[in-house]
């Protein structure tokens, strides 16, 4: 039986993981490579690296981090941030990324999805979206969730799949940071639109939130979070053990 995936997200700026961390046994808590190794060793099913650098130098640091991570961490790596052209896919794939996540780049030019899918395959293209309720409608927001694009999020998800996206990351701005659980209503609506895997993001604050997510919206394949894992408010190995005990199919690392 296929396992539900638990995915830590590392936001990287100028070569460092942003958002506070509280790690034992790691020399440099903000070093993305060290953190990726820690997550790999403690059972993360996949990692997302998000490049939030604006500068050219920062971008170079990011690809260097990606290369060093991919040489030591052998689980799927998804990379997002600053992906606007097919050449950006090439840049990160050649450094060891397995999948590439597009967000603003696809809003600016939706054909980016199909051009990339045609070249690298659907499985490589992850459509990531920031969704917020406006006047009773789910809308796509751009620029890190600050700008209402007016695009209907359910239609956007459907079209994204048609264009060749292989997975969706759906982040709810309404629940993000609130730590009261995932946006189940929105995720259930999304699940009716697409047949590709859905990765839920935004709102997890405790272990039960993941259980509720997978039980109430069974079409969701994975849960993604950042600071609750980095700060160990929800320690990743404990979460996976707990979900396994609760009957959610999990990949559990065997003690050697």
């Amino acid at each position: 039986m296929i396992a539900k995936r638990i995915i830590p997200c590392l936001d990287v700026r100028n070569g460092r993981v942003v958002k506070g961390t509280n790690f034992e046994g790691i020399q440099d808590v903000a070093d993305p490579v060290e953190m990726a190794k820690y997550y790999n060793d403690t059972g993360a099913d996949e990692l997302v690296f998000y490049d939030i650098t604006a500068s050219f130098e920062g971008r170079g640091l990011f690809t260097d981090i990606l290369k060093r991570t991919a040489a030591q961490v052998f689980i799927p790596l998804t990379v997002g941030g600053g992906i606007n052209e097919v050449s950006d896919f090439e840049r990160v794939l050649s450094c060891g990324a397995d999948k590439v996540s597009v967000n603003s780049g696809a809003i600016k030019d939706p054909t980016l999805i199909e051009r990339a899918a045609k070249r690298y395959g659907d499985q490589c293209v992850v459509l990531s979206m920031d969704v917020k309720r406006v006047d009773g409608q789910f809308r796509i927001f751009a620029k890190g969730g600050r700008v209402d694009t007016g695009i209907d999020a359910l239609q956007w998800a459907h079209d994204g799949q048609e264009r060749g996206a292989g997975e969706l990351v759906v982040n709810s701005i309404d629940t993000d940071g609130v730590k009261q659980g995932f946006d189940l209503e929105m995720l259930a609506a999304m699940a009716k639109q697409v047949t590709i895997p859905i990765i839920a993001s935004g709102g997890a604050g405790k272990m039960e939130d993941f259980k509720i997510l997978f039980e109430s919206v069974p079409q969701v394949d994975a849960g993604l979070a950042a600071s609750i894992f980095h700060r160990k408010e929800v320690p990743l190995p404990e979460l996976k053990r707990y979900l396994g005990e609760q009957g959610i199919p999990m990949r559990i690392l065997r003690e050697e």
């Binding site: 995936r5 790999n40 689980i75 895997p197």
Partner: protein, 205 residues
């Protein structure tokens, strides 16, 4: 030295780095002499069967791989590379494979129930059916990472381990010196590394 066959299909970064991480010498190559001299071969691949088969032929790699495999050199096909080892595929038409393993590559849909998504993507547990050197130290239920929409049918006792996804999907196949993994060992954490190590270091004879 392991020759990783380069025929312009797929991202070989993780595969070559995972072998380097294990201290196993490998080289991504399409050089005839290098391939003929290699102790072992890995045939990678992502994308569509027909395209990959054409590229394998255009680069002349198909004849080399067949020659080496028939001479007894251990060969490991990964993902689409594994599917290419079979007789035939029904992915967008009908294509001849290398014919090193018995069976055909067929779409997961409609064989699997409607509620299961295609591609089959993510971690799935292995059910061990037979002996294989690559399964040394692997236990029933150990998880590996899959990304695929087609699967092998009719492989008979070449199937050494399966994963359940509406049907029993052949995960690891082997006949003599020819091995195939439908999952990505280079993306399957410690379990996958163990298999690559067994392939790289084992005598496999």
């Amino acid at each position: 030295m392991i020759a990783i066959i380069d025929y312009g299909v797929g991202n070989l970064y993780s595969l070559s780095h995972s072998l380097a991480f294990l201290g196993i010498e490998s080289k991504v190559t399409r050089d005839e002499a290098e391939i003929l001299n290699a102790d072992k071969l890995i045939l990678p691949g992502v994308g569509a069967f027909g395209d990959a088969r054409d590229k394998l032929h255009e680069t002349g790699m198909d004849a080399l791989v067949l020659q080496k495999a028939k001479a007894g050199t251990p060969l490991l096909g990964i993902c689409l590379g594994m599917q290419l080892l079979f007789q035939k595929s029904y992915e967008y038409g009908e294509h001849e494979g290398l014919g090193l393993l018995p069976g055909e590559i067929c779409p997961l849909k409609p064989d699997i129930p409607d509620n299961l998504k295609v591609p089959h993507i993510g971690w799935n547990g292995l059910h061990i059916l037979g002996d294989s050197p690559l399964l040394a130290g692997i236990q029933e239920g150990d998880s590996v990472y899959y990304v695929h929409s087609f699967y092998a049918k009719g492989a008979g006792n070449a199937v050494k381990a399966t994963s359940e996804y509406g049907v029993m999907v052949p995960g690891l196949v082997q006949r003599d010196n020819v091995f195939g993994a439908q999952f990505h060992p280079e993306k399957s954490g410690p379990v996958g590394l163990k298999m690559l190590k067994a392939f790289g270091e084992g005598s496999l004879c």
